[in-house]
Amino acid sequence: MQRYLLRRFVLILPTLIGVTLFVFAMIRFLPGDAVSLMLEDYRGYAKDLEDLRAKLGLTLPFHEQYFNWVAQIARGDLGNSLRDQSPVIEEIQRRIPITVELGLLGLIISILISIPLGVYSAVRQDTLSDYIARSTATGFLAIPGFWLATLSITLPSIWWKWTPPLRYTQFADDPAKNLAQMILPALILGIGLSGALMRLTRTQMLEVLRQDYIRTAWAKGFAERVVIFRHALKNAFIPVATLLGLQVSVLISGTVVLESIFVIPGMGRFLLDAINSRDYPQVQAVVFIFALLIIFSNLIVDILYAWLDPRIRYS
């Protein structure tokens, strides 16, 4: 297990280098002269094009710029906003817990919906309950999150004169108020994720339930609960865990829309604002942080995978 973990950690390095290179090069290969556009947008920031290039460190050779940027990141410095010259890291530190909270809540809700529904659907294959559960999952996959979000904020306000709180409150200040604001977008995020998870759980469970060792377990007279949860689910869960890790990127893209609709000042909304105001250092920093989140969530999935399936550790 230790060797496996070590190998996974080492493998992160080239991924990280690739990600930093991509994010760094992104701004330099934008169509048109991005620096000229930045100068138009932020005249107070620099005197002229050359001054702006110098301030952004663009006058150095590409590899030097890159190493300087990586060194800067290593020092915890993600650059300054062009708009108000505030350190981007400060804004990210303020916003990342908000998006992580929303994402975790969404993930928990999706697991709570999809795993029981997927297992139940498989165990009751081809019954009315199975059809209902499968149709529900297809519905969850088909309904766009932004549409559901707009409806869920508009209709309760018309019917019951209620909507989630629009003034953001931090969890530490007032957990109840914070959750009141977070729960609806988290539910929508969870619903969006649960369709695919539920379908996969069902398929995997059906496959596992046909295995000989499960038949043996039934033959031994174990209770249904023991057969399903102790013997079948753990094996069926291995591909589901992989999908769960891959869903982190879906989760992140979901927060961009949902944070705007529910007025949540997280990373998604920060990215949208940064793109709209063409604040490239901010865009660069947020994309980098999102990439890191995805890399590390995949690492966690790999670890989980090894824990669930010992064969992986030995191969």
Binding site: P156, T163, L166, R167, D273
Partner: protein
């Protein structure tokens, strides 16, 4: 201001700073000869000539009185928000809210009444309307579509409709081809379907703007009334006449024109207008190719007339209080917002004459004449406008309609909340 009294020196220093760096300085520098301190609380503006709009212009939100010590220490006005208004800046949280606290030393005794104003930053219209219905928001501006549903479902919410002094403008370079030809400009005006715009954008609740907005009611000449004269015809849609004018101007098969606009600044209603105008121009023989420009770049280049012919631009004109601020800025060669590069000596004389006419009735007549003149010249084509609707809770009292950018000092100055507001 900044914990001290505002003095004449502050006004003079701010004025000198404004005329050195201010984008819109020309509207003042063209009439102000000298600014003198009389005593600590009195400033004398000596004008080059009589200027009827001077008081309106000097009081408009283009010229701010600022604390010298703060600007000199910081280098600019972006780091600290300090002024002379009724609310003191308290907090700005990016993407969340702006909070202002009551200024106890405001120069008008007794106001403002509110202890605090919280301006929530809500990017989606639907969310703001939901917040209003759920009584989380005291007031918000709403679209005409939302107005309709609020009026039907939430009868307790007060709706205030008022004409806005805002102009939709279609402009270009008037000194370069193809829009240096009056026939091409008139064709573009004839192409616009103002009735359709009012219907689609404002649910039918709007008016025809002339080159002065209908919101400045006493100076606005109604295009649909009997007094406008023959040039009103250029505001009525006539596709056949537009095509004939284009053909006469040398474009019998149509005219290819890039059209620049912004989609990230003015909201859904404006964005829909961008689509409508393209469609209407196309129907009249303009082969338009749309180019979106980010607002931050637009406002510092295209809006200031820094774009290449033959492009046309669809945008909005800054709302101001006095007709001269429109006419001088948009059509005088020294105007700060002369987007189209207009330099017409006849028009320049007319603009300067109304500016020097103190008799209000006489000045109104001169401004009417300018509108008739501009209706024929169509240096800039003007679109129609709809009402603004502000929706507010029953406990909100004495809200003042917004007419320009003086948000806190106008809208919320005398606003108060009665005891029926839920705790």
């Amino acid at each position: 201001m900044n914990g001290r009294a505002v003095t004449a020196d502050d006004v003079i220093w701010s004025y000198n700073r404004f005329i050195k760096d201010g984008v819109q300085k020309a509207v003042l520098t063209s009439v102000v000869k000298e600014v003198k301190k009389v005593d600590d609380a009195t400033v004398q503006f000596i004008l080059k000539e009589v200027s009827a709009p001077f008081e309106n212009t000097i009081a408009s939100p283009i010229f701010w009185i600022m604390p010298r010590e703060v600007i000199e220490a910081d280098g600019d006005a972006r780091k600290r928000v300090i002024g002379t208004g009724p609310y003191i800046f308290d907090k700005f949280e990016k993407g969340v809210q702006v909070i202002g606290k009551r200024n106890p030393d405001y120069f008008i005794t007794g106001v403002p009444y509110l202890d605090e104003i919280v301006l929530l930053i809500i990017p989606e219209d639907a969310t703001a309307v939901a917040g209003l219905r759920a009584k989380q928001i005291d007031l918000t501006a709403v679209s005409q579509t939302d107005r309709k549903s609020i009026a039907a479902d939430n009868k307790e919410i007060q709706l205030l409709d008022y004409p806005q002094n805002l102009l939709y403008i279609l402009y270009w370079r008037v000194n370069e081809k193809p829009f240096n030809d009056i026939r091409v400009r008139q064709a573009a005006s004839l192409a616009l379907d103002r009735d359709e715009n009012i219907k689609v954008l404002y649910e039918g609740r709007g008016t025809y703007n002339a080159h002065i907005p209908s919101g400045l009611e006493s100076f606005w000449l109604n295009l649909l009334g009997p007094d406008f004269g023959v040039n009103a015809k250029y505001f009525k849609r006539d596709v056949a006449a537009a095509k004939k004018l284009l053909a006469d101007a040398g474009y019998p098969t149509g005219l290819k024109v890039p059209i620049i606009s912004v989609l990230d600044a003015y909201g859904n209603t404006f964005n829909t207008s961008v689509e409508l105008v393209q469609k209407q121009l196309k129907e009249a023989g303009f082969d338009v190719e749309f180019k979106a420009q980010p607002y931050a770049s637009y406002i510092q280049t295209t809006y200031l007339g820094k774009f290449d012919a033959p492009a046309a631009v669809w945008g909005l004109e800054t709302p101001v209080q006095d007709p001269n601020d429109y006419l001088f800025n948009m059509y005088h060669p020294k105007g700060a917002r002369n987007h189209a590069g207009v330099d017409d000596p006849v028009l320049t004389d007319m603009i300067e004459k109304q500016r020097a006419t103190v008799d209000r009735a006489e000045r109104i007549k001169l401004v009417y004449d300018i509108q008739r003149y501009l209706a024929e010249k169509q240096y800039i084509v003007i679109g129609p406008i709809g009402n603004v609707t502000v929706a507010y809770q029953p406990w909100v009292k004495d809200y003042f309609p917004q007419s320009d950018y003086g948000r806190a000092s106008e809208q919320y100055l005398r606003m108060w909340l009665d005891s029926s507001k839920p705790k």
